[in-house]
Amino acid sequence: MIRTEHLTKSVNTSEGVLTILKGINLSIDAGEAVAIVGASGSGKSTLLGLMAGLDGSSSGDVFLDGHSLASLDEEQRAVLRGQVVGFVFQSFQLLPSLTALENVMLPIELKGDAEANEKAKQLLERVGLAERGHHYPNQLSGGEQQRVAIARAFATQAKILFADEPTGNLDTATGSKIADLLFDLNREFTTTLVLVTHDERLAKRCGRSVKLVAGEIVSGETNEGTAVA
C-alpha cells in the first residue's frame, strides 16, 4: 500500500543543509497498522508528511497506493490524497467556522457526494457525538474535537489513515479512549493506519513499530498481541 525508496529530505538552514531523513526504505501492506516512533526531531512527522504526499522529497520516492509521488505534481497529489488518504492530527485541525457536523461533511462534499449530511451524521453518531453536531469546535472539549476529527478522517472511507500524535494534546484517560475509537474504526473500515507517536503504549497497539533516530530507521519490530489482532 505504501512503499518508500531511499527517501531523503533535506532543508536549507542558516547553518547549512540539514538532512532530516536519510534514505528511508519502508514498506507497509494494506490493512497493516504501523507506528512510527522516535524522539522529538527524529524526523517522524516529516516522514509522515512525505508518505501522505503533503510535501515533496529531496530524493527517493514514495509509492502511495501504487502511485509514484515523485512523478506527480502538487495538484495531482492533492487529487490522490482526496481519493485514498485520511488524516488525524495532534492539533485536531477542525475548521473553527464550521460546526462539528459541517467539519465531517467537508471531505464528503468535496467528493461531490450528495448524501454528505446523512453520512456525516452516521459517523458522528458512531464516535458518540450525535448530539453535538451543531456545536462549533470552540464549544467542544479537546477529546470531543479529536472525535470529530476521527469521524472526518473516516468520512471518505480512505484506504490509508495517517495519524500524527492523535493523543498528544489529550490527557491520558481521554487519550486512551480516543485511541480505542481510532483502532476500532480502523478495524471496521479495514484501513491501513500509519501512526506517528512517541507514546510507547500507543505504539504497542499497532502491529508494527518503526523507530527513527536522527532520520534513520534503527529498528522495525512486530508487536506481540497487538490490538489489531
Binding site: 468535496l110 461531490g112 470552540n138
Partner: protein, 905 residues
C-alpha cells in the same frame, strides 16, 4: 504479486488523477456553503462591510455630487437666464439665432438700454430691458402686485403693451400697478412689479444704472428711443438640456472668424468669476472627497481581505489534505468573492441611495434649489469600484491562499512561501492608481497623490531600516512596559510599517479634506461676508460727501469710506518708457477689469451727459459681470492704458503689503503703492521712480510698497494708490459703497433726488446670488467631509483589528509566563501610541505637501502653512490609534490565555 497488481492500476489511477475534475457545480455549491458558514461564523463580516462601505460611500457620494453638480449648473445658469449667451455691441447677426433654432436649441432675445421713464407725477432714469416671449430660458422672474414683497415666480416677461417695474421705480414715478408710464414715445401700462429677475446681475453697466423697466420686444419700436448708434446691448439667449448640443453650437460660433472680437459667446462660468470659481472648487473638492472615499474603502477591503485570507491558511491546507487542487481552491474563493461583491453591490447601492437621500433631507433647509434626478451612472461607478477594489485589493491575498502548502497542517510555521508578500500590495497600489485616474480623469491630481503616497512609503522604509539597525539587543525585554512595547514594535516591524502606512494615508486623507474644507470655506466667507456692501456710488464730488454721510446716518444705512478717484497713466519708469511684452497675467485679470472701467466711460458720458468728467468706476470687480467690457479689456491689456487711481491714508481692507512698507505715521507726498502683479508686469522694484500723467499734468512718485489685492471681494480695488498729498490737488471725484437691505432700497430714490449727479450701481442681486451658491456649495462640502471621515474611521478600526490575532497569541504567552494585565495593557498602549504618533507626523507632512500642490494648482488658493496641524496631527494620531487599539485589544487581556493558546478565539 503486489508488483503485478501495481502497474495496470497505476495507469488507470493516473488517468483518473489527471481527469479528476470535480464538477464545477459541485465546487460552486461548496463555495456557497463555505460562504454561508463563514458568514454565520462571522469570518466574512469585516470584508463584507468593507465592500458595502466602498459601494455605499462611492455610490452615495456620486449620486449626491451628480445631482448637486447638475443642480448647481442649472442654478447658476439662472444667472444668465440661459445656458449660452451671444452678445455684442449693436445689432447681432440674425444667422446666429437661426443656427441655434436649426440645432434645436431654445432661444430668446433681450435688448437693454437706458432711458428716461415718465409719468404724470415724475420721471426717472431706468435700465430698460426688452424681452421676447420665450424669456427667460432658465430661472424665473419673481413678480408681485405690490412693491417690496417676496413675490411669486413666473416664467415669462411682460406681454405686449405692458411694462414691469422694479419696486423703487414705482414710488419715484408715483405710479401703481395699472397706471401708465411713458418710455420714449410709447405709453405702456404697468402690469406687474419685478422683485427679482434671473439675469439681473448678469447684465452690463447698462443694466445696473437704474431700476429695471421690462417691456416686450415688440413694443421697442414704438418707443423710438432705440436708434442706430444708441447705446444698446443685444443678447441672444440659448438653452437646451443636452450639454453636447450646446457645446457643438458654441464651437460652431467660435469657428466664425468674422465675428471674432465683435460678438461673444459665454456661459455662466464666463459670466461670473465668483460663481465659476466656487463651482470649480466645489467640483474639485467633491471629486477629491470621493477619491479619498474610494481609496479608503480600498484600503479597508485590502485589510479585511488580508485578515480573512490569513485566517484561511489552515482552511486551505486542510482542504488540500482532503484532495482539493490549487485551481479548485482558486475557483472556490473566486466564487465566494464574486457572490460577496454582488451582494455588497446590491446592499451598498441601496444604502448609497439612502445615504444620499439622507444628505438631501439634512440639506433641505439650505438647499434652495430642487435637484434634478440622478442618472444611472453613480450606481455603475459604485459597482465598478467594488469590483476593481476587490480585484486590486482582495483577490491577490485570496489567490495567494491557493499556494498554501498542505504541510501546514503538520507545521504551523509554514505559510505563504511561494508568493511574495509584496505582490498583493503592488496589485493594490496599481489598482488604487487606476481608480484615482479613472475617477478624476486628471493626470495632475493622480500624480500628486501617487507621489505623496510613494513618498510616504519611501520615508517609512528608511525609518524602518534605521529602526532595524538600532535594535542591537534581542529578546522580549519583558521587564518594563516601555521596553516591552519597544521590542514588540521592533519585532513586528514589517507589519507595523504597513500599519503606519495605512494609518498615515488615512489620517492624511482626513487632514487634507479637513484643512481644504476649512480653507475653502474661510476663503469664501472672507470673500463675501454677510455685510458686503452691495451698492456702489460713484461720481461723488468733494462737497457731496458730508451730505451723503448724513443721509446714510439718518436712514440707518451702513456707509463706507470715500475713495478719491482719478484717471492716470504711467509714462515712464526711471525715465524709460516701459514696454511690457506679455499680457497682464490672469491672476490680475479682474484688476484689469476693475480699472478698465475706461471701456465704460463713454457709456456713462452718454447716459449722463450732464455729469462731470471721469464718471468711471473703479469699483471692484463690478465690471466682471459685463463681459463685453472684459473682452475689450483683454484686447487693450498689452498697452499702458489709463488706470483709475486713488490715494489713501490707510491700507484698504483685504490688501496686504508684500514688499516695502505702507506710509507710516509721518505721511509724505510723492510715494506710490503698486499691486504686486501689476508691478511684476512693469518689472518694477521698490524705490523705482515712476512718472504719471494725471489730468494733463506730470506727477512723479517713488514706489514704496507692493500690495496683494483680493480681486474677488466685490469691493473697490486699485492697482495704484498714492500717498496723500501727491495728487490731491488735481481734482477728483469720489467713490463709496454702502450696504442696503432689500427694504432699504427705496431710499435710493431719495438719494438720487438729493444728489442727482451721482451714479448708483446696484450689485445686491449679484451678491445675493453668489452668496446663495456659495452657501449651497459649502454645505455640500461639509457633508462630503463627514462621509469621508466616517470611512476613515472604519479603515482605522479594521487596520487595528487586522493585527489582533498575533497580539492575542503573543500576549497570551506573556500572561502564561506571568506578565500582569497592567504590564501588557500599558505596553499595548505605548506601542499603539507610538505607531499613532509616527503615523500622525507622517500624515501631517504628506497632507501639507499635498495641500501645497492641490491649493496652488487645482484650487487656485494661496497655500499657508497650518502650523497648529504639526502639533495636532501627531497628537491626534496618537490619541486615536492608542484609543482604538487599546479598546480593540482589551480582550487580549480579558480572554483566558488558555483559550487563546487553544485557539478558540
Amino acid at each position: 504479486m503486489v508488483k503485478q497488481m501495481r502497474e495496470p492500476r497505476l495507469h488507470s489511477m493516473r488517468a483518473s488523477v489527471l481527469s479528476d475534475k470535480k464538477p464545477l457545480s459541485n465546487l460552486l455549491g461548496l463555495a456557497m456553503r463555505l460562504l454561508w458558514r463563514d458568514w454565520t461564523g462571522g469570518e466574512l463580516r469585516l470584508l463584507f462591510f468593507a465592500l458595502v462601505m466602498a459601494v455605499t460611500s462611492v455610490t452615495g457620494i456620486a449620486l449626491f455630487t451628480d445631482r448637486l453638480e447638475k443642480a448647481l449648473i442649472l442654478e447658476s445658469a439662472n444667472m444668465l437666464a440661459a445656458d449660452r449667451i451671444v452678445s455684442g455691441r449693436g445689432l447681432l447677426p440674425e444667422e446666429v439665432l437661426e443656427e441655434g433654432r436649426v440645432r434645436g436649441l431654445r432661444t430668446a432675445e433681450t435688448l437693454s438700454f437706458t432711458s428716461m421713464a415718465f409719468s404724470g407725477s415724475g420721471n426717472m432714469l431706468v435700465a430698460a430691458k426688452a424681452v421676447t416671449d420665450t424669456y427667460p430660458l432658465r430661472g424665473e422672474v419673481i413678480v408681485a402686485e405690490e412693491a417690496f414683497i417676496r413675490g411669486t415666480p413666473i416664467q415669462n416677461g411682460p406681454p405686449v403693451g405692458e411694462v414691469w417695474l422694479e419696486s423703487r421705480a414705482l414710488s419715484a414715478l408715483g405710479v401703481e400697478v395699472g397706471d401708465s408710464v411713458f418710455i420714449g414715445e410709447a405709453e405702456l401700462r404697468v402690469g406687474k412689479i419685478i422683485i427679482a429677475e434671473p439675469d439681473r446681475s448678469g447684465g452690463g453697466m447698462v443694466d445696473n444704472a437704474g431700476p429695471r423697466l421690462m417691456l416686450h420686444m415688440d413694443d421697442v419700436e414704438q418707443t423710438n428711443v432705440v436708434q442706430v448708434g444708441s447705446r444698446i446691448s443685444y443678447r441672444y439667449l440659448f438653452a437646451d438640456d443636452d450639454q453636447q448640443k450646446l457645446n457643438d453650437f458654441e464651437s460652431w460660433f467660435r469657428g466664425q472668424e468674422q465675428w471674432l472680437g465683435k460678438y461673444y459667446i459665454r456661459d455662466v462660468r464666463d459670466e461670473s468669476e465668483e460663481v465659476s470659481e466656487a463651482l470649480n472648487r466645489a467640483e474639485s473638492f467633491l471629486l477629491l472627497g470621493s477619491l479619498f472615499a474610494v481609496l479608503l474603502a480600498g484600503i479597508a477591503i485590502a485589510l479585511a481581505a488580508k485578515r480573512y485570507s490569513e485566517r484561511h491558511y489552515d482552511y486551505v491546507a486542510i482542504l488540500k489534505t482532503f484532495g482539493c487542487t490549487s485551481s479548485q481552491i482558486a475557483t472556490i474563493y473566486l466564487a465566494i468573492q464574486i457572490v460577496l461583491a454582488a451582494i455588497a453591490i446590491v446592499v451598498g447601492s441601496l444604502l448609497g441611495y439612502l445615504v444620499h437621500q439622507g444628505i438631501l433631507l439634512l440639506l433641505e433647509s439650505v438647499l434652495l434649489i430642487s435637484l434634478p434626478a440622478a442618472g444611472f451612472q453613480p450606481y455603475v461607478i459604485g459597482s465598478l469600484t467594488a469590483f476593481i477594489c476587490l480585484l486590486a485589493f482582495a483577490l491577490p491575498p485570496l489567490l495567494a491562499l491557493r499556494e498554501t502548502p498542505p504541510l501546514r497542517v503538520l507545521r504551523k510555521d509554514i505559510s505563504q512561501q511561494k508568493i511574495s508578500a509584496r505582490i498583493p500590495y503592488i496589485f493594490g497600489i496599481l489598482g488604487a492608481i487606476f481608480l484615482v485616474y479613472w475617477y478624476s480623469q486628471n493626470f495632475y491630481l493622480t500624480s500628486v497623490l501617487v507621489i505623496v503616497i510613494v513618498g510616504i512609503a519611501g520615508f517609512l522604509s528608511i525609518i524602518s531600516y534605521l529602526f532595524l539597525r538600532s535594535s542591537g539587543s534581542v529578546g522580549m525585554k519583558a521587564g518594563s512596559a516601555w521596553k516591552l512595547a519597544m521590542t514588540a514594535a521592533r519585532r513586528r516591524r514589517t507589519q507595523n510599517v504597513l500599519q503606519v502606512m495605512v494609518f498615515s494615508v488615512t489620517i492624511m486623507s482626513l487632514l487634507i479634506l479637513t484643512l481644504l474644507r476649512t480653507d475653502l470655506i474661510d476663503d469664501w466667507q472672507a470673500q463675501l461676508p454677510e455685510d458686503t456692501p452691495n451698492h456702489f456710488m460713484m461720481n461723488i464730488s468733494q462737497n457731496q460727501i458730508e451730505g451723503i454721510e448724513a443721509f446714510f446716518n439718518e436712514n440707518g444705512v451702513e456707509g463706507n469710506a470715500f475713495y478719491p478717484l482719478i484717471s492716470a497713466r504711467v509714462n515712464t519708469v526711471n525715465g524709460v518708457i516701459p514696454q511690457p511684452e506679455e499680457d497682464l497675467e490672469s491672476s490680475s485679470e479682474r484688476g484689469n477689469l476693475t480699472e478698465n472701467a475706461g471701456a465704460e466711460e463713454s457709456q456713462y458720458e452718454e447716459i449722463r451727459a450732464s455729469i462731470d468728467a471721469q464718471p468711471s468706476a473703479a469699483a471692484g470687480n463690478l465690471d466682471a459681470p459685463d463681459s463685453e467690457a472684459a473682452e475689450e479689456g483683454r484686447r487693450v491689456r498689452g498697452s499702458l492704458s489709463r488706470r483709475q487711481v486713488t490715494w489713501a491714508d490707510e491700507l484698504p481692507d483685504d490688501n496686504r503689503i508684500t514688499a516695502g512698507s505702507w506710509w507710516g505715521e509721518d505721511i509724505k507726498p510723492g510715494y506710490v503703492s503698486i499691486e504686486e502683479d501689476y508691478a511684476d508686469w512693469l518689472d518694477l522694484e521698490l524705490g523705482d521712480s515712476l512718472e504719471f500723467e494725471v489730468n494733463q499734468q506730470i506727477i512723479s512718485a517713488e514706489v514704496s510698497s507692493f500690495r496683494s489685492v483680493r480681486w474677488d471681494n466685490m469691493q473697490p480695488n486699485f492697482f495704484i494708490i498714492f500717498s496723500p498729498g501727491t495728487i490731491d490737488h488735481l481734482g477728483s471725484t469720489f467713490l463709496s459703497t454702502a450696504l442696503m437691505e432689500r427694504e432699504q432700497k427705496i431710499l435710493l430714490n431719495d438719494l438720487i433726488q438729493l444728489f442727482p449727479t451721482i451714479v448708483v450701481i446696484e450689485i445686491d442681486a449679484l451678491i445675493e446670488q453668489v452668496q446663495t451658491i456659495i452657501a449651497q456649495v459649502t454645505s455640500a462640502i461639509e457633508l462630503i467631509s463627514v462621509l469621508v471621515l466616517l470611512c476613515g474611521g472604519l479603515v482605522l478600526l479594521s487596520c487595528v483589528n487586522a493585527t489582533l490575532d498575533e497580539r492575542f497569541h503573543e500576549n497570551a504567552i506573556l500572561r502564561t509566563l506571568g506578565a500582569g494585565k497592567k504590564l501588557i495593557l500599558s505596553s499595548l498602549l505605548i506601542e499603539f501610541a507610538m505607531i499613532g504618533f509616527v503615523a500622525g507626523l507622517i500624515a501631517t507632512m504628506g497632507a501639507e505637501a499635498s495641500l501645497y500642490y492641490l491649493q496652488e494648482e487645482i484650487f487656485e488658493q494661496e497655500f499657508n502653512f497650518h502650523y497648529w496641524v504639526w502639533l495636532a496631527g501627531p497628537l491626534l494620531g496618537m490619541l486615536i490609534i492608542a484609543g482604538l487599539g487599546v479598546n480593540s485589544t482589551r480582550q487580549v487581556v480579558s480572554i483566558s490565555p488558555l483559550n487563546v493558546l487553544r485557539k478558540v478565539v
